[in-house]
Symmetry: C2
């Protein structure tokens, strides 16, 4: 097994019980031996659902299923396996999803459209869904309310630690809880949502409101991270609300009474997204890139991603080399408007480059010291407008190559 | 020093004298010790010039100079230094170019607009142009007609071998010669031209015709390669024609009498471009990606580049793992139209995936054997149209990280 990422949080958070949610993890042997690889979550009747999914044109069969199902906005169960992505498996893959949905719906006694399926792992290998359907009854028998840590563990693939986050929020005077789990370490360059992440709340909110909040919340969290520029065929982020908190039901995502819930939800999404970056395959440095002065928000994001995905920037960071010339190069290749002669760069808070050249009296020593740390901050102002964005990534190391040169073997 | 790339050609080609061209290499100590770092090429009066340059928005001062100068279409000299890119050096960098141009023009006795300058190496460091201008006289004293090998060596940075190619062509019954040299190993993802490459011919052709041929020729050569997706601030490709061959002067690039010259020129450009890929930093495998069935030629190129630049595809190839699932992923993330259910993939000529799933009776053994070789061929048909493109790249290995984690130190 790979060692735990040096950027991992100190510990998995204490996550409270969410009324209406029960979870179970199970070892059904899809691919891995000696570990759990199946997560089942059962939700009370009346649970509302929202989701955002990969924009990949080769999206997996489970993603297509969920995209259709979530249009109805209801949820009773979630079944996730790790070790096999059931992606690019053709009609066989679609049939696998159908059998798992039917088996789960029958067991629980609900409609198929209330069942969500996800698979994560190797692409292009037939999913032995019979192992999953055979295990559904045993898994259901193990359901309990306080199994968040185990749930996060069951969906791991190349992850080196389970990822979870929790927040409380107030909706119109009522306290509600939000718990989320996520998995992901490589093939991380979400273009709307990434990898697998599931968020649960006891708040009472209609599916449409959940969807609005989730679509907006993903923008500054999962859509602002990249490990390796590769977008998964299985990226899924879902939000489920059981309604058990008994808060006032609010029907408009823009209602001010939702401000606190929205802030806490966004904060939780960012927390989970950053945990994914901190588990970036082979990562030894966590990198925050603030872009300002761009033509617009989208342009700023694109410039940030161009820097974050540059192998030359990422390897320089791995080598603890404050090579700001490569940041200039990455700005230039982004294709977005930038003023070469007004561009400025700060690293670790130190002004490195200003007005198109090295800053007057630039002393590299404090920047080199900053690069020896684990948290690297790069600020770039491209000098043409007011667009801003923040993007998060990690460095590119030998371990990334080791992990990915032999993933299937 | 780094060992020579395992993908290097067996030897540097024998390159003939081109009437009207003399070359000199010189050690002027810009950055490197114990090697040449200055190339001077002098061309006879009447030499026509054409060029294509980086589309980077942070292009270097020398690139901006050459872009302006080439509009006049005349050339008398080329001065290139390695070790320092004179990029992102502000007004100081512009002044460096000006002094080098003026010094060279005075020495040779020509207009400044007939002098082309290039600098390659570290970005953001002031170019000690006084070392170059002080060496111009000594360099000129060394000019000779048969110094192609030395010329190619003088412009190397992280290159592990000098790159050259030669062809002969017939224009309306007259034999003409074409010689080209190139440098480049990293920061290679040209968006029109890459790194530095200079091509010389004794053909008599107007600058407009040269420009048309070069702009077209770059498309299937330098624009079809990528090492690491990073586009340089200094990418330059120029073509110079001395006219000494005395052929019929042809004024239209589409004239059929130029067919052979065009074919040989394009072949030489591809040869040089592939030598750059074969010297890709840390490369151990040369990879050819043929995309067909795309919506158009541009779409095919974009899909090919998405595969070629995917760190997951590149590391799988480095690990000799025929992981076609990652090819599917890269097609999906390209954003171009593709049919997941009609997609087919061949690796080493073997049908691996067909109609959206693993091919019937697929035997991985011959594909695994193919991946143990040095030349990897991947064919992808995305099943939506007739667009085709071929893209060339290399694998991503530990050595890339070693080279780029410590380039400046």
């Amino acid at each position: 097994m790979t060692a735990i990422s040096p950027l991992a949080p100190e510990r998995f958070p204490d996550m409270p019980v969410i009324d209406g949610i029960r979870l179970a993890s199970h070892a059904c042997g899809v691919r891995y031996a000696g570990r759990t690889d199946l997560l089942m979550v059962e939700m009370v009747p009346g649970t509302a659902a929202a989701g955002v999914f990969t924009r990949s044109l080769t999206a997996s069969a489970p993603v297509e299923w969920c995209r259709d199902a979530v249009a109805k906005g209801r949820a009773r169960a979630l079944v996730v396996n790790s070790g096999n992505a059931n992606a690019f498996t053709g009609s066989v893959g679609v049939a696998s999803v159908k059998r798992t949905v039917e088996g789960t719906a029958k067991l629980i006694g609900c409609k198929g459209s209330e069942i969500y399926i996800a698979s994560t792992g190797t692409i292009g290998v037939r999913l032995p869904d019979e192992k999953i359907t055979a295990a559904l009854g045993d898994a259901r028998a193990k359901l309990k309310a306080d199994a968040w840590h185990e749930a996060a563990q069951a969906i791991m693939t190349t992850d080196t630690y389970p990822k979870g986050a929790t927040r409380t929020a107030i909706i119109d005077g009522t306290t509600v809880l939000i718990n989320g789990i996520a998995k992901g370490a490589g093939m991380i360059a979400p273009d709307m949502a990434t990898m697998l992440s599931y968020v649960f709340t006891d708040a009472a909110l209609p599916a449409g409101v959940l969807q609005d909040l989730l679509s907006k919340g993903v923008d500054k969290s999962f859509n602002a991270i990249t490990v390796d520029s590769d977008t998964s065929t299985s990226d899924t982020l879902m939000l489920f609300a059981t309604g058990k908190a008994g808060n006032t039901v609010i029907k408009d995502a823009k209602d001010k009474r939702l401000a606190d819930f929205k802030a806490k939800l966004f904060d939780l999404l960012l927390d989970l997204a950053l945990q994914v970056v901190r588990d970036g395959e082979g990562a030894t440095k966590f990198v925050t890139i603030h872009v300002s002065g761009a033509a617009g928000r989208k342009a700023a994001r694109k410039i940030g991603m161009s820097i974050a995905n540059s192998p030359l920037v990422k390897t320089a960071i791995a080598g603890e080399d404050a090579n700001w010339g490569r940041v200039v190069m990455a700005v230039g290749k982004s294709g977005e408007k930038a003023s070469r002669d007004r561009l400025s760069i700060r690293m670790g808070g130190v002004l490195v480059a200003d007005k198109g050249e090295m800053a007057q009296g630039y002393d590299e020593a404090p920047v080199t010291a900053h690069f020896k740390g684990k948290d690297i901050v790069i600020e770039v102002d491209v000098g043409v407008g007011k667009g801003k964005a923040t993007v998060y990534t990690c460095d590119l190391t030998h371990a990334y190559i080791d992990i990915n040169g032999s993933y299937r073997t």
